[in-house]
Amino acid sequence: MSAKIQRLADIDRVIHEPARLMIVALLAAVEEADFQYLRQTTGLTQGNLSAHLSKLEEAGYVAIEKTFRGKYPLTICSLTDRGKVVLDTYRKIIKSAL
């Protein structure tokens, strides 16, 4: 039991932050989503979401691609393979510890 709790120390701090965890969990539930959809769904402000996405991109958990749909500019975000692995590990650690 204590070994399982000790594993909490191994938790990835980048996705442990609630807003980032929600972004990653949302992106894990879809194929890809744009900035506006994530902003509307999470209720985060533009600045906050932008900062969290930058951190997730820096860590290599989220891929961000800027594109256009017609005349409308889209910032499309998707979870990378590394992001999927990290989220899966995070789930396992939390599940075993709680």
Binding site: P18, A19, L21, M22, A25, L26, A28, A29, V30, E31, E32, A33, D34, F35, Q36, Y37, L38, R39, Q40, T41, T42, G43, L44, Q46, S50, R69, Y72, P73, L74, T75, I76, R91
Partner: protein
Amino acid sequence: MTFSSSRLLEENPDRIANQLIQKAHNRDGLPEIAIGLTFLLVALTMWMQIAYQPGSLTYKIAPLILGLLVPALILSSQWAIKKVRTQFLIGKTGYVKSKPVNRKAAGMVVAIAFVIAVAAVIAAYLGRNSSPPTAWFLAGTGIGGGLLLILAGRLPRFVVGGVIMSVTGVALAVGGVSLGTGFMILYGIIGLLSLISGCVVLVLFLRQPTEPAQ
């Protein structure tokens, strides 16, 4: 924010994510408008069979509408909603690409629907000589449909719609109306409510200021 740290610690983040996606799906009222139109079309076919004489053209067309137009509307509604969002509402709704359909889960749903359909046919065959339990059908459809609406929508307005559907079903059952008239009223009321609610939500959604694209 629409979620909090404490809620994330208490609940599964995946479940919260799916709830938020479901909420986002119903944000613009388009799914309700599609559901409302479908129910109204079903109610219309029932009215056509009640109001017109058997053998008349309108009476004959009704099953065709029910058999062809209603399934076509159900099957095409998701595509149409996606098209409208992409074409006209992308600045407000944002863009999302869903994961491909899980074939195992979809197969399970089809298998359950098939089992229910077979059970209904067997029940109808066994009870062919007795008078149909109209009240049971109406109350059951009202309560079952209401529960389905509450569980699928997960928003206060769906809870209200689900309660109205259940109460209407029970009221029609107690009122002793015929099966055809009962279903026409039940589907008509739900269709109208969904359509009005969807239109109101869409208008309110369109009136919200659009934030500049990132």
